[in-house]
Symmetry: C2
Subunit: 410 residues, 2 copies
């Protein structure tokens, strides 16, 4: 008997079979080596963190026993009311007339994805996703044992009937439950859905009578071009109000304020929010009160817009550095996206070159890390793609890293 065999393990739930370690996560361990230039994780630049302002906000939250009695206590599962009010106003600025009762605060938008899987997916149900899509969404949904089917919002989607027939065929009694999309500067491709693609996706959802989960993690970080209205704004202009809308909007402060506070939100119809509040309560009771108070202080009074302006300028310079280096060094057999915002550029390598194999060589020979694109595909495709994130390294490291990476592809 080996030592490992003598470890006791329980009988796990069936869903545990779906839970795999993330390639990105394994990669983050490589990043601890200081000479690696990392284009791997979508990690915000800490130079943008409002550290002094956060220190002042924490001090204010704890300045008196009265303040501390609220800041350090249990709190409402819905979230901190002034922050919900601020978010409702912010949603209005995005074309979504919302009240605080339409908002529930979550631990980043990752927790929102988990909650929506929990609320909507019975094992065998179908989730519609793009291929590629955000890896963390696939991981969050996996616990609820869905089947996936592929939407192509910029091309012509299949007929509604084709999606629902496939769902029932895969599991009797199962159905399509929602479509998930990252419409702006998507993780992983950097691509943005056109207005017409958004309308087409809403049409498909209306025909299937399903929800649309709109993940706006990077939306505020637009470097150029005009904002495209959120799917939720387009939908509620048609359906007449947020409580009648099928769109569930996920927002986060992780990319504009700081991820270490773990504060995001869901904006949706009131009946949905009421159920999500029950899920929040059962899952972890409530958010950290003090972190919500601090986020509120960091964004209120126009400060969110200031943070966004600063972040846009910094990430734009990094994107420009990466696009410039790609143009300067990559062979013509490699193509890439030109994002108008966000953190990511998506590279397509010549057919037959595997992103995963390239990563091994890149780390060993070029001291550069990135994420192989296949991780983002629910269907096992995307072998010859990779995702580069420009958010963390400085512009000079971006130039050096792309040059080194390109040398492996020449």
């Amino acid at each position: 008997m080996t030592a490992a065999a003598r470890e006791w393990e329980p009988a796990y739930a069936r869903r545990a079979e779906n839970m795999k370690a993330s390639e990105i996560r394994e990669l983050l361990k490589v990043l601890e080596q200081p000479d690696i230039i990392s284009f791997a994780g979508g990690i915000p630049d800490p130079a943008l963190f409002p550290a002094r302002e956060a220190a002042a906000a924490y001090a204010e939250a704890l300045v008196s026993e009265g303040n501390a009695a609220t800041a350090l206590q249990y709190s409402m599962s819905e979230g901190y009311q002034p922050l919900r009010e601020w978010i409702a106003d912010y949603m209005a600025s995005r074309g979504v007339q919302a009240s605080p009762e339409n908002i529930v605060i979550t631990a980043g938008s990752q927790q929102a994805l988990d909650f929506l899987g929990k609320l909507l997916l019975t094992a065998g149900d179908t989730a519609l996703v793009t291929a590629p899509t955000y890896l963390g969404a696939l991981q969050a949904f996996a616990a609820y044992e869905p089947r996936y089917d592929t939407i192509r919002p910029e091309q012509t989607n299949r007929t509604p009937n084709s999606y629902s027939k496939a769902a029932v065929k895969a599991a009797p009694g199962a159905r399509v439950k929602f479509a998930y999309t990252v419409p702006d500067f998507a993780n992983p491709t950097g691509a943005t859905l056109s207005r017409s693609a958004r309308i087409a996706l809403l049409d498909l959802a209306r025909n299937l009578d399903i929800a649309v989960i709109e993940d706006t993690a990077y939306q505020a970080l637009r470097f150029e071009g005009a904002d495209i209205p959120p799917l939720q704004a387009i939908d509620l202009a048609m359906c007449g109000g947020l409580d009648k809308s099928r769109v569930i909007y996920l927002g986060t402060f992780s990319k504009t304020v700081a991820p270490g506070l773990r504060v995001g939100w869901i904006c949706a119809s009131r009946p949905l929010v009421r159920r999500l509040v029950l899920i929040k309560q059962a899952s972890d009771l409530n958010m950290s009160a003090i972190n919500q108070m601090v986020v509120h202080r960091l964004v209120a009074g126009g400060r969110h817009a200031e943070l966004v302006t600063r972040a846009r300028a910094r990430y734009r310079a990094k994107r420009d550095a990466m696009l410039g280096a790609l143009t300067a060094y990559m062979p013509t057999s490699v193509s890439w996206t030109r994002p108008e915002g966000g953190f990511f550029i998506w590279l397509t390598l010549p057919a037959g070159i595997s992103g995963a194999s390239l990563l091994t060589r890149a780390v060993d020979e070029a001291r550069v890390a990135f994420v192989p694109g296949a991780a983002f595909f629910h269907d096992g495709s995307g072998e010859n793609t990779i995702r580069l994130s420009y958010s963390l390294p400085d512009t000079s490291a971006i130039e050096t890293g792309v040059r080194r990476l390109a040398s492996l592809l020449r």
Copy 2:
């Protein structure tokens, strides 16, 4: 068509049928009326919060750009390494030789309950619980659609065979997955499992080859009497080491430091912790880095023991006030528990008196709130029981509240 009927709602997951609003939660709304004396929620006394020390710890975490770059950034899903190390040492002081790799940090122990439901329960599987048990555990597990069966650790449990037969009979292919217990100063009864009851529960679990979830939320708050070793310590003395143990230990800083930081932990065998880390990653990526750093500063260097000593003295005085008032004012037809620690006293009313009806009268006529005991029973019993928490009101309010409540029962 009514306005409500025109709200759009998606087809929910089957599990959504199990998700109900908590009676405790509804009660918390009543508490906003300032003249109510509340024995309802198990809410820590904010006078115990280390507000000044927390302010200093937040300031330290943000004192330089370098510190802030870690405190406000994404972090490891396992949790903050110095805090995991501190917890491993703390576990050793409780008789559990643990390494940091046996620890995963969670958003309070509520999130631990959700994760364990997710890891262990397939729909139809059986969870063994006491009746009554912690309501929040029933809510967390509900999402995973278990069946419950009742253990009575202080009496003689049924035979292992009887539990497993009942599990299979209820759902073909299903099985008993774990036993859940709050061994010290239990929520809701205040009762503590004797050493022999702990050994009997471990025997049952060994015979059924299932996990034991040991929820120690109140354990540190012992007012008198000798500590009883945790089930995990008893088990690993028998099985030879934590990685071979079937006991999953849940700890929290909510009752000894402050609940608003939302920091707790799971201590378990390494294979289990590795899987729980994947669940953490998929559920909300990672804990707030800064809150973990602050908790670490608040407990390290012997400060946890100081906080515990202070909390014990304060809650002991409150328990004494409540026991004294119960003795002074309650009719002999009412009986109650005498907890050696924790937050709760459990009252049994004369048969035929409903705790729920008494609550309505208590709020209306006596301006006193509590939780009807039936909420804590998975099997719909406990009609004539109520839970009183003495943790939040001061001793004079406790005396007044019990007197007013007793007047309704005379």
